[in-house]
Amino acid sequence: MHPRYGTGLGMSLLTVTNVGRRYAMRRGLLARAVTVHAVDGVSLSLERGETLGLVGESGCGKSTTGRLVLGLEAPDGGAVHFDGAPMPAVGDAAWRKLRARMQMVFQDPLGALDRRLPIGVQVAEPLEIHNLLNPSDRPARVIELLGAVGLRPDQAERYPHELSGGQRQRAVLARALATNPDLLVCDEPISALDVSIQAQAMNLLMELQARLGMAILFISHDLRAVRQVSHRIAVMYLGRIVEMGEPDAVLHDPAHPYARALAAAIPHPGLRGQTRPVLQGDPPNPADRPSGCAFHPRCPIAEAICRTSVPALLPRQDGRQVACHAAHRSDAGVHRERAA
């Protein structure tokens, strides 16, 4: 189904260790500043050629995680290592140089493009910035890049508003690929596109990855899209990863009750008749984070301990990582049964 990725030997391309990011948020002049833990103790790693899908509701911190991974923001705690080296300080020369190796694909391609410059000029911009190739060779490279993402050479002359949404996203992708990056962070890359062309865009992404071998962090609220492109997925809830594992496993046998609710929301022709846990309670508010397991007010199987103690993200027997008291206990139970 997917090309197998790195074996995990040696250094990962990207290692994120226990990063956190807090914001002070004020809701009014007379209100107190509230500390919002947008991201709280997230760890993950990414190999060359691998796609990690990051999924969760809006406000769960997945976009902030993307920005931390790229080094666009410095974490308040923890560390990000790229290719074995710590992330340089935001904005310095080393940081700017590193941009050539890690790129971002945005949710809103129209906003990410300069409406006053033709597409070709913008695709060539990373080459100019990082002084790659001879100026005379750049037009050919632009044509090549446009071709790689399925745009015609004559579309280099077009302005962003003259293209369709899907074409704009392809242009953004071409610009991101110009420097042959090792890592691509795609933040909701398809949610602004028509449903009819979302599949096309995802296929293009996978095809490019197979050809160019970059790692992808694919951020989306759409579990189906994430499953289609990812080698592994991580489910986030209120700033923390609650479950991480192989996409089919997480989808067909979710261990965390939140992941179960997400998976159940996907229409499944084959699974009719099964009970579907439905999310109850209020949607999460990052500024008012519940104590203990942040999911407990909405959780159908919450217990006393869930209100007081934050569950750690621990590997189960099958290698899947889950942050849930109940899931770990049942896993331990299964283990005991097996042992018996």
Partner: protein, 328 residues
């Protein structure tokens, strides 16, 4: 993410935000005044040697040296500045270099004359400008709206000295109804007050009109009218109070310029107010008087702004969060 200000957490969490808000505003106001004092000092002291200007060029060097010593002009600028600041903190604004009287007294003497022009003018501005603006907004694109707008544009584009001289030409020179300058009777005040009032009324009318139009166009007004309230009621109870909020700003500015808003008009009509004093003091390089006026103007302006700011916070809770973000 909700549209709120995001700053790193270290900014702290104030418990008494109300007091904090007022304290910050007060601090900012004091800072502005300190800035004005510094500005005045730097500009006035560095620009030239007042001794050479006050004394005649061929005055004996000993006389010039004595003059400088007596005014502290021979000390380093830094010392002069600190002394000046210290003196101001003690309420001492220096003495006029021309006649040796206290600058503050000299200026205070002129304030009633200026207020005699600016307060009636302010009443004209409010009395004509706001009703005209509201009327124009409520009858948008009618002939009266166009008339108000035309008058408003004219009020902006005709400088006060041109308007004043035109009035003199018509009512004093041609018709001989009113005096052209001086301060002998209340009749002398009529032309300057009209000159000041008309321009301001035009500005205020234009501002009020667009503020009202904006509010009228907003969704919640439409919601209110959908609930079956009469249009007149909607206008009175929703539109006007909301339109008043931005209008407070411009009125605050007008109140703030009560003391210094008549420089040109006082010159046109030879009216012995603060503005006239300023022009003369500037021409004479009378440092203490100019600084005193600058400070007075700044203090009035800053106080008016402070009041407007606080009023704003209370008038419109919607703005509190938005404004606090920029207030920092």
């Amino acid at each position: 993410m909700p549209p709120t200000d995001r700053t790193p957490v270290s900014t702290g969490k104030g418990r008494r935000d109300m007091i904090r808000f007022i304290a910050i505003r007060l601090l900012r106001s004091l800072l502005t005044i300190a800035l004005v004092v510094t500005f005045a000092f730097v500009v006035l002291r560095l620009s030239g040697d007042p001794a050479m200007l006050i004394m005649s060029v061929d005055a004996p060097p000993e006389a010039i040296a004595a003059f400088r010593r007596s005014w502290g002009l021979d000390e380093p600028l830094w010392t002069q500045y600190l002394k000046y600041f210290g003196a101001i903190l003690h309420g001492d604004l220096g003495r006029s270099m021309r006649d040796g009287r206290d600058a503050i007294v000299l200026v205070a003497e002129r304030i009633p004359a200026t207020l005699a022009l600016t307060i009636p003018a302010l009443l004209i501005k409010l009395g004509i400008g706001i009703p005209a603006g509201v009327h124009a907004a409520l009858h948008r694109d009618s002939w009266s709206d166009r008339l108000v707008m035309l008058a408003a544009v004219a009020g902006f584009t005709v400088p006060s000295f041109v308007l004043g001289l035109l009035l003199v030409l018509i009512f004093a020179v041609q018709l001989g109804w009113l005096p052209s300058g001086g301060q002998e009777s209340w009749r002398h005040a009529i032309l300057p007050v009209i000159t000041l009032g008309v321009g301001g009324a035009a500005v205020l009318a234009r501002f009020t009109r667009s503020a009202t139009l904006e509010v009228l166009g907003q969704l919640y007004i439409r919601t209110a009218s959908a609930k079956g309230l009469s249009w007149g009621r909607v206008v009175r109870s929703h539109a006007l109070p909301n339109a008043a909020i931005p209008t407070v700003t411009i009125v605050g500015f007008m109140v703030g310029s009560l003391i210094a808003g008549a420089v040109v008009v006082e010159s046109v009509f030879s009216w012995p107010g603060v503005g006239r004093l300023l022009v003369v003091a500037v021409a004479n390089r009378d440092l203490a008087v100019v600084q005193c006026i600058l400070l007075l103007v700044a203090a009035t302006m800053v106080t008016a702004n402070l009041i407007v700011d606080l009023l704003y916070g209370f008038l419109d809770p919607r703005l509190r969060s938005a404004r606090s973000a920029g207030a920092g």
